[in-house]
């Protein structure tokens, strides 16, 4: 059957239809061979052997491009020098992989990796979970998936800003990324710079999240520090910002070079002309990371300052926010609790509008009237400092009456704390002034208040925090915004009171997030005291507008031009007029 069909199909001009015409119905049975019923001699076209066209089966042309990766490039070495963590690990490292139902966390090359070979090298690495499991890195508790995303963001980057909202675990993410880099021998020496009060916190976190990494904290007298800089070969060296300024010369002299420099609370270098920024930027390094919950604390210029360290030239002063956002898109990672921590207990914020006591009102009105008269008399001599002094004076009266000591805020706070103590929960109270905190400590004695502010020696602060956490008789911790708003983990406190308000909502957020962070066992209740009809209410209105503006722009990474009160906004707190019209402050 096959042969005739092939012949027919190969012979131009002869079709199956032609053959079929020769077949009678009775012979065209399925069992009958076609060759038996068709006489080829009767077909004129086939009297001679037909021409045969041969067409070989076409084969596609395949071009192959190849890349080879050396083992060293991939960071696959087994490093026995830091193998303590492996020897203590369980036999099933996969047990450390968090949330097995989550999709694997892929490490993707940043935009500044241009060469295709380098991009593929990173892209073809196993997921982060596999890297962690392969190195058998153990964690004190399972990281959240978003935290692994943060690690995957930092790990391949030479220039990065992790700008997660406070409480999302920037410390843990940075430590884990460092750990992976050290284990894969991509990084050997890391310099971590943080505010002085946070040095012990970092030591604690490193001991918890990366116990196998050696750590040296630079501290003590100059000679001791010099010796430490000269001899330290630890994986991680910790120094505070002040030390970096003081020791800039010795670092330069020793020509110290680090594989990675991490700045915690990186807004400390926002002032590019400052000595801190200059000292930090002069450190020789290969990778530069910044951790900050408030990359834009006061204005977008803060971010420009941070990027002078991260990747100089990326941002310039005066850039439009949209251009700025585009320029840093690949280098900044910011997540908010609302976006990533669906399971975090809720934060309940109440604005407690209070009437001043009669005594406070009397003092307040007198101070305000006298102050406004004084400001008006200054006329062209008026400076922003004069206005600022009056604002501070009025705010203090809103806390306590300077004559009688009366305080509606204290009355309310005492009542709230009684309820708080009755439920066995702990509270933290923030104030702008140390004097207010000391006054509160006296008044709140029944609650065993502890104090944490600038006058508490640094070497006693850890003990204060430990006592507050462990001793049930210490139900209240009184903190200043300056000392207590960053870096502290107070998630065991269920109540936060802002006795007075800070000038910048970002600082208030930081303060609140000492308690409302990962590990919080239940809802965190935040109470912001506000003296009705006073300067506090006016400031709150202005800050609320600014906070809304910040939230609007934050999605584009870059915030509003300014978050704190501008000169004109401070002036607008009072209705200052002279016969010539509204008063304006001198420059």
């Amino acid at each position: 059957m096959n042969a005739p069909l092939e012949l027919l199909s190969a012979a131009p001009g002869v079709s199956l239809a032609a053959a079929e015409l020769r077949m009678s119905p009775e012979v065209a049975e399925p069992s009958t061979r076609l060759a038996d019923v068709i006489s080829f001699a009767e077909i004129p076209a086939l009297r001679f052997p037909p021409p045969v066209a041969t067409m070989p089966a076409p084969v596609a042309r395949v071009r192959v491009t190849s890349w080879a990766f050396s083992i060293a490039d991939c960071g696959t070495q087994w490093v026995s020098g830091i193998a303590d963590c492996r020897s203590n690990s369980s036999s099933n490292p996969k047990s450390q992989i968090p949330n097995p139902k989550s999709p694997p966390t892929r490490i993707r090359p940043p935009r500044d990796v241009v060469k295709l070979e380098d991009r593929l090298r990173q892209l073809l690495q196993p997921p982060l979970e596999s890297l962690i499991a392969a190195q058998e890195l153990r964690f004190p508790f399972d990281p959240f998936p978003y935290q692994l995303d943060g690690v995957a963001f930092l790990y391949p980057r030479y220039h990065a800003v992790l700008a997660d909202e406070m409480g999302l675990g920037k410390t843990m993410q940075a430590i884990t990324a460092v750990r992976l880099l050290v284990h894969s021998e991509q990084v050997h020496r890391v310099l971590l710079v943080c505010p002085k009060p946070l040095v012990t916190n970092w030591q604690r976190e490193l001991a918890s999240w990366a116990p196998e990494l050696s750590v040296t904290a630079i501290a003590g007298q100059q000679e001791r520090r010099n010796w430490q800089w000269r001899t330290s070969n630890s994986s991680v060296t910790i120094a505070n910002y002040e030390t970096m300024v003081r020791d800039a010369a010795i670092i330069r002299e020793l020509q110290l070079e680090f594989d990675l420099v991490i700045l915690d609370e990186a807004q400390r270098i926002k002032n590019r002309a400052g000595v801190t920024s200059e000292a930090i930027r002069s450190v020789a390094r290969h990778r530069s990371w910044a951790l900050t919950g408030t990359p834009i604390e006061n204005s977008v210029e803060d971010l420009v300052g941070i990027f002078e360290f991260i990747a100089p030239g990326t941002l310039q002063s005066g850039m439009k926010p949209r251009v700025m956002a585009r320029a840093v898109r690949d280098l900044v990672l910011r997540r908010t609790k609302e976006k990533v921590l669906k399971d975090l207990p809720p934060k309940l914020v109440y604005d407690e509008h209070l009437d001043l006591t009669p005594e406070q009102w009397e003092s307040y009105e007198r101070a305000k009237n006298d102050g406004v008269v004084h400001l008006s008399e200054l006329r062209t001599e008026l400076t922003i400092q004069h206005v600022f002094e009056l604002v501070l004076r009025l705010k203090q009266i809103c806390n306590f009456d300077p004559v009688t000591g009366a305080s509606s805020k204290l009355e309310r706070l005492t009542a709230d704390l009684e309820e708080c103590a009755a439920s066995g929960r702990k509270a933290i109270v923030f104030s702008q002034w140390v004097q207010t905190i000391e006054r509160l400590a006296e008044e709140l004695a029944p609650f065993g208040p502890l104090q944490f502010h600038g006058r508490i020696p640094a070497n006693r602060r850890d003990e204060v925090l430990r006592q507050f956490r462990d001793d049930p008789t210490n139900q209240v911790l009184l903190l200043s915004y300056g000392a207590g708003s960053v870096g502290l983990n107070l998630q065991f406190a269920s109540y936060v009171f802002l006795f007075d308000r800070w000038w910048n909502p970002a600082v208030e957020d930081q303060a609140i997030n000492r308690a409302h962070r990962i590990g919080a066992a239940g809802p965190v209740t935040v109470t912001r005291f506000l003296a009705e009809g006073t300067i506090e209410q006016r400031i709150d209105e202005i800050l609320a507008e600014k906070r809304a503006l910040f939230d609007d722009v934050l999605g584009n990474t870059v915030g509003p031009a300014s978050l704190h009160l501008s000169r004109q906004e401070i002036l607008s707190l009072f209705d200052l007029h002279s016969p010539a019209g509204p008063l304006r402050a001198a420059a």
Partner: protein
């Protein structure tokens, strides 16, 4: 720091072909060590079958393209000999006739949901062993897989178990797809360390 290299480390080849209606078929071949780390990567320029190929090969076109043309061209370029080749498309099983290595088909749809393949266990007969949800040898093709296995079932299983300790067995196919996409985006041709027409 002292380095230790695991002795006798077998290598694993992952091969897949990405079909793009607009550009054609791109093959990718990734060689991994037992920890799942990349050793080599090879990818083809897009291959578009001609009309004549489509007519003549008919329904066997994909098998021919994947298993006889793209696959062998990729494997031929690899410098590191692998112990086993893992594929995720039945058509790639045609490689059995063109390579000397055992070829194992991974059912990607049933794999990877847990992110772990440490529970890999033996697959026998035409059923799927319980406790091994991450890896499935296509039951209807088991005989073919056995035929091409020069090492024997036990050796294949040993190798797969070894790799599954570090990675999900299906996960590298995603890496290859992303790498092919990246190479196409960046315009990878000419940037490779070894580029030759097959």
């Amino acid at each position: 720091m002292h380095r230790e290299t695991p002795p006798e480390s077998p290598l694993f080849g992952y091969l897949t072909v990405v079909d793009d209606p607009a550009h054609g078929s791109c093959g990718g071949y990734l060689v991994l060590n037992e920890q799942g780390r990349p050793i080599e990567f090879h990818c083809t320029a897009p291959v578009t079958p001609s009309r004549a190929q489509q007519i003549l090969y008919g329904p066997t076109l994909r098998a021919s393209l994947y298993g006889e043309q793209v696959g062998p061209a990729l494997i031929e370029k690899a410098k590191s000999p692998v112990s086993i080749v893992l594929v995720n498309q039945p058509e790639c099983l045609e490689l059995q006739h063109n390579t000397g290595q055992p070829v194992v088909l991974i059912d990607e749809a049933r794999s990877g949901a847990t992110g772990s393949a440490s529970a890999f266990s033996k697959v026998r007969g035409t059923g799927i062993a319980s406790g091994a949800p991450q890896l499935t040898l296509f039951p209807e093709l088991l005989d073919e897989i056995r035929l091409i296995s020069t090492e024997g079932d036990e050796e294949i299983e040993r190798l797969l178990e070894l790799l599954a300790r570090s990675i999900d067995l299906a996960e590298p196919f995603e890496r290859i797809r992303e790498a092919i996409f990246e190479a196409q985006q960046v315009g990878g041709e000419g940037q490779g360390s070894d580029e030759r027409a097959a």
